[in-house]
Symmetry: C2
């Protein structure tokens, strides 16, 4: 079981900003998962991996693929109080789900 | 309502590593909170702020203070598969709780 969180590398987010957006996406996707997936993921150490997308289009494609495959997922848009324009799509979390299911969607992406 | 996630700035964690540790701490502290705090925090946009500690001692002090004050909190230790020694304390999340309660413990820290 794992969760992949994909963040845009083209926005120049600061480290703390990036971390907050990733945490946001992670929690939202977690809450989309069913109780069994939540339990299995936590029981196995809640593995998380942070990956990069190069632009908004790539982010949307990941989100769409997760939706089509029926995996828990969440797209985060920044409120825009700092650094970014309001509504900027920053991150997508996919999972918790099986490693195989998550890799099928995010396996081509580089580590952030 | 907010949650502060405090991460050690002295470990030289990469951006993706930092983000994963922050997300880990965030979710664990969230699960420590009672249902009302969870609901109120989510209803107000689940505000998160990422702050820095300079060393392990500062991190432990924040964790201890949150414990004494009865706030939801979680200390994360890295599993050590990459970058860090196994068991290295990396991050502490405090809250979700009122802004006032969280600031009383973390208000002196700088943004990460």
């Amino acid at each position: 079981m794992k969760q992949a969180i994909v963040a845009r590398a083209d926005l120049g987010m600061g480290e703390g900003k990036l971390a907050a957006q990733v945490a946001h996406a992670s929690l939202q996707a977690y809450e989309e998962a069913d109780a069994r997936a939540q339990r299995e993921w936590k029981g196995s150490g809640q593995k998380k991996i942070v990956l990069q997308a190069n632009n908004e289009r790539e982010l949307f494609e990941i989100n769409e693929s997760a939706d089509v495959e029926g995996l828990p997922h969440a797209l985060v848009r920044d409120a825009g109080h700092t650094q970014l324009e309001p509504g900027t799509a920053t991150t997508v979390a996919v999972g918790p789900a099986t490693e195989r299911a998550v890799d099928a969607i995010t396996g081509e992406l580089s580590l952030y």
